[in-house]
């Protein structure tokens, strides 16, 4: 066994992935030594999925007073106001939620060794771990990389996880399987140069159909709904694949439905158009005012027509990229059955198990498009499962479905391609793991963001409320009217909508209110959202209710719904018909808070005995820090320089000299790209562009040293094939240091003179 995970996993990792993680590890070391700018490091780690967590400012209210957490390396920060030693959250992107059994096993190992033994499934098909220390993150990333998972751009101002409906490929109503397209776009945009200069996060979703439309495409920055266009050709009808393409949707504090950019975007245009949107967003998107920096604000500001014009204009100028079409040559399903189709035999169910099995089958099993197969949903409590459950789920997957495992945006897991004849056996296996909870997709399957449990922005306990509601409704399940059982409840801990409360039938978002001098947890009630139809509509806010009265609100509103609906009227239509005033009056008496000495339970939140406070609210990292590509680029050159110095210390003189040259090349490329965006990544091209754009124009000239520092770079480039002596390596490093300083100064001059693109 090797001494480190780096050595152990080197054969299993793609070299470029291994190198990226090594680079991150060196950045963590620089941070440990206090040698990296806090803002830059914060955005750097966010772009690797290394997130902050509640109390990472080193302060926590214990119910009586705010207490300082005296972490060992007090004052050492991993971001503005964020203690180095404070535990954090790690977000793992799982593109369109697809996981293999081996990946499940590694995810389980990581939960045990670096976290609290729990995997949390998010509302964007990610996995999150909590209480992870920054020191552990490089090895965590390596272990994930060894099974093909990256955490890159899971957070920060980047393209986040690309999601897709969990039944893509097996759905009876889909136009076609969107999985390969989601996969291609996720790969294409990952680390793409045109997606590195955003002022805010960027979210993409795919759906296979309009209705029921579980891909939520209308509430994303970029949303796609699969479409087939039929044209009559000389030899008969020709079917073309494409997408109804939406832009500028989003939830957050101010939700907005996406607008139709193109009713039919041909599949060949999927990648280049997305790239063009990224360029426009990077160039014109807001970067100073974080609250207005999402794409939706840009689309509104410009108007859809102008936005479209700019995007198409950009599209026309894009240099050809073979990746746009390469994947189309071999479009194939991402997963497939491993066992033959079969029919379910009801007589095989033991009598003692019949009732519970039927309850589970009714809610957790759907027929696939392909005869003889079913999709089975594992309803996870608050999206959580243990490492042991995950590990044994890998075994279950291998037995029945192979790689056909997907996370869902409702914080569950689905197994696809389950032969109908295996349903009983699968149920029994899931029962052993205690993953057989019925009620998937019903009112007891409540979605919630982490809220005050771990999020710095959480105002009220979304998870506490969600579980309370789930338990109460589950206890009443048999007596619930079917129309109520089919409703969706979604809970967010604050207005940022990570729990997607806007699209729940009943949505709740955490707020606080001052009552008689006390701060009391409340939830704003939002009714009548439409989750289906790709997030078809947002709910109506009706007012803030004390947290402890929310279960009563649910009971009362659903009760009146059943009594007063017209025929088979849907809940959304009912709320719309009845209106906000009616609902408000209906729950008026539930808005009151008992006096403190009458009922103190109102002054704590669900699941938390501490007296409630908003004193623990911190500065969120959801928005990341806006760090320009130039900052990143020059920081990368300084990191390369640091590594060259390390090589020198180890007396690896050639490596030291090579790294020093690379540091200069990185700095040169960063400056050149300000004026020539599409310069090739080849050293010769960079050097040529550097000469033409920066040296010959005297832009790079130092006021006192003239072109001296530029020539350090050109000499190093000319000497790349020559072996460096120890003295030469040392000198190269000194010159690289001076060149990078000159690059910073040059950038400053370019900004002053308005010469950046």
């Amino acid at each position: 066994m090797a001494a480190t995970w780096k050595e152990e996993l080197a054969p299993a990792m793609a070299p470029e992935l291994a190198r990226e993680i090594d680079v991150f590890e060196s950045q963590v070391e620089l941070c440990r030594q206090g040698k990296i700018d806090e803002k830059i490091f914060a955005e750097t780690r966010l772009r690797r999925g290394v997130y902050g967590q509640r109390y990472d400012n080193g302060q926590r209210h214990d119910g009586m007073r705010t207490r300082t957490l005296n972490f060992p390396r007090k004052g050492l920060a991993k971001g503005p106001g964020t203690e180095f030693d404070a535990p954090g959250m790690m977000r793992i992107k799982i593109p369109f939620g697809a996981l293999t059994p081996r990946q499940l096993e590694v995810l389980a190992e990581i939960a045990e060794e670096y976290s609290n033994g729990i995997l949390h499934v998010t509302t964007r098909q990610d996995i999150q771990y909590h209480f992870v220390h920054l020191d552990d993150t490089p090895d965590l990333m390596r272990r994930l990389a060894s099974v093909g998972i990256t955490t890159r751009e899971a957070c920060g101002n980047s393209v986040r996880n690309v999601t897709a409906c969990q039944v893509a490929g097996v759905c009876p109503t889909e136009s076609f399987d969107v999985s390969p397209y989601a996969h291609a776009l996720a790969d294409f945009l990952l680390g793409h140069d045109d997606a590195q200069d955003f002022g805010r996060k960027f979210k993409v979703a795919f759906s296979g159909c309009q209705t029921p439309g579980c891909g939520l495409s209308r509430m994303h920055d970029l949303g796609y709904i699969a479409r087939i266009r039929r044209e009559e050709g000389p030899e008969g009808p020709v079917l073309h694949r494409g997408f109804e393409f939406f832009v500028g949707g989003g939830l957050g504090a101010v939700p907005q439905q996406a607008k139709v950019f193109d009713e039919f975007l041909p599949e060949a245009e999927l990648l280049p158009t997305a790239q063009a949107v990224c360029r426009v967003f990077g160039r014109l998107g807001e970067k100073k005012n974080r609250a207005r920096a999402r794409l939706k604000f840009l689309v509104n500001k410009l108007g859809l027509e102008e936005f479209r014009r700019l995007v198409l204009d950009e599209r026309a100028k894009l240099p050809e990229d073979p990746r746009w079409l390469a994947y189309l040559a071999d479009i194939a399903p991402v997963d497939a059955a491993i066992r033959p189709p079969s029919e379910f035999n009801p007589a095989s169910v033991p009598a003692a198990m019949a009732e519970e099995f039927q309850a589970w089958r009714t809610t957790n099993v759907e027929d696939q498009r392909q005869a003889g197969y079913a999709v089975v949903t594992l309803a996870l409590p608050l999206g959580d499962l243990t490492s042991e459950q995950t590990r044994r789920l890998a075994d279950v997957a291998r037995k029945y479905v192979g790689n056909s495992v997907r996370l869902t945006v409702e914080q569950n897991i689905v197994l696809r391609w389950v032969p109908q004849g295996d349903l009983l056996s699968l149920y029994q296996d899931l029962r052993e793991l205690r993953l057989h909870r019925p009620g998937a997709g019903t009112i007891i399957d409540v979605t919630s963001c982490p809220g005050t449990d771990t999020c710095k922005l959480g105002i009220s306990s979304s998870r506490g409320l969600a579980w309370e509601l789930s338990e109460r409704l589950a206890a009443q399940n048999d007596s619930l009217n079917a129309a109520v059982r089919g409703l969706r409840i979604k809970v967010s801990g604050c207005f940022n909508s990570c729990g997607q409360h806007h699209v729940g039938d009943l949505g709740f978002l955490g707020v606080s209110r001052k009552v008689n001098g006390y701060t009391v947890p409340h939830f704003q009630v939002v009714l009548g959202g439409e989750w289906g139809n790709n997030a078809g509509a947002f709910g109506l806010g009706v007012g803030a209710v004390p947290s402890k009265r929310i279960p009563d609100v649910v009971e009362r509103i659903t009760g009146v719904f059943i009594q007063e609906r017209e025929g088979n009227e849907a809940f959304q239509a009912f709320i719309k018909r009845k209106g906000k005033t009616f609902v408000r009056e209906l729950i008026q008496d539930l808005l009151t808070v008992p006096a403190y000495d009458v009922d103190r339970s109102f002054y704590s939140d669900w699941g938390d005995p501490r007296e409630y406070t908003i004193g623990d609210l911190g500065v969120g990292e959801c928005a990341g820090e806006v760090v320009s590509p130039v900052d990143f680029g020059l920081q990368a050159s300084e990191r390369d320089l640091f590594e060259s110095q390390e090589q020198l210390e180890k007396e690896s003189f050639q490596d030291a000299a090579d790294m020093a040259y690379r540091a200069m090349l990185q700095a040169a490329k960063t400056l050149v790209r300000l004026q020539e965006r599409d310069v090739a990544d080849e050293p010769e091209a960079i050097v040529e562009a550097f000469r033409r754009r920066l040296l010959d124009t005297r832009l790079f000239h130092d006021p006192f040293a003239g072109a001296k520092f530029a020539h350090y770079f050109l000499r190093a480039h000319a000497a790349t094939d020559i072996e460096a002596s120890p003295e030469e390596a040392r000198q190269r490093i000194e010159e690289a240091q001076l060149f990078i300083e000159a690059a910073h100064a040059c950038y400053g001059r370019m900004v002053e003179q308005g010469l950046t693109q």
């Binding site: 066994m1 090797a2 001494a3 480190t4 995970w5 152990e8 509640r54 109390y55 926590r60 214990d62 119910g63 009586m64 207490r67 957490l69 005296n70 972490f71 060992p72 030693d85 404070a86 535990p87 096993e105 190992e109 045990e112 060794e113 609290n116 033994g117 729990i118 909590h130 209480f131 220390h133 409590p381 608050l382 959580d384 499962l385 243990t386 042991e388 459950q389 590990r391 205690r434 449990d453 771990t454 579980w467 699941g607 938390d608 005995p609 501490r610």
Partner: protein, 201 residues
């Protein structure tokens, strides 16, 4: 790399079979421990995972370690696990287990004192589990046990005041290294703390 270098050590004490304790009652207890600084660790937060079957139960997360009161596999117990390797830096193999066992036993004894919650329930000392959350240096194999058993047996027999300690490796190769320790001791867990403190002196 030798398993003797492992630092992510864990100890799990079990309550006796007749214990009737509600996991959820531990939530306010752990919150109060933070208020009172009941343990010497940097206590950070309480996480309630009682909604997850066979999950970590109620977790008290500290910088150095985590304390979990749970009913995994149907047995109520306290799981202690080191989170930060540097907390055990510089310790000998026996020294590491002494520190870890001491911390776990201290928490267990403290929990026994929470009479409203525990209602007289007691932690067993005749058997407990130890584990290592580090598959790189301590995979769940007989070879790992061979490397560790000498130092473990020596320490545990002195800590529990017995002549003989039995170690039996548990789980499968892909799970964390885990050992069931049988001491046959009837010693209260508080006395284990005293013994370990004497060993450290």
């Amino acid at each position: 790399m030798s398993a003797l270098t492992a630092t992510r050590l864990g100890v799990r004490f079990y309550l006796t079979e007749d214990a009737e304790v509600d996991l959820a009652d531990c939530v306010p207890v752990f919150h109060r421990w933070i208020q009172e600084e009941a343990l010497s660790d940097i206590l950070i937060d309480v996480s309630d995972y009682t909604h997850v079957p066979d999950g970590p139960g109620v977790l008290l997360v500290a910088h150095e370690a985590s304390y979990g009161f749970d009913d995994a596999d149907g047995r109520l117990g306290l799981q202690y696990r080191v989170r930060r390797p540097e907390w055990l830096q510089g310790q000998s193999p026996a020294g590491k287990w002494r520190r870890v066992l001491g911390a776990a036993a201290t928490a267990a004894a403290l929990l026994e004192g929470e009479t409203a919650m525990m209602r007289g329930a007691r932690f067993r000392t005749d058997e407990f589990d130890v584990s290592i959350a580090d598959r790189l240096v301590a995979p769940n194999t007989d070879a790992t046990l061979e490397q560790l058993e000498g130092s473990m047996k020596a320490l545990f027999s002195r800590a529990f005041g017995v002549n003989k300690v039995e170690l039996r490796r548990q789980g499968e190769k892909r799970t964390m290294f885990s050992v069931r320790v049988r001491t046959g001791s009837q010693m209260p867990v508080g006395d284990v703390v005293s013994n370990l403190e004497a060993l450290a002196a």
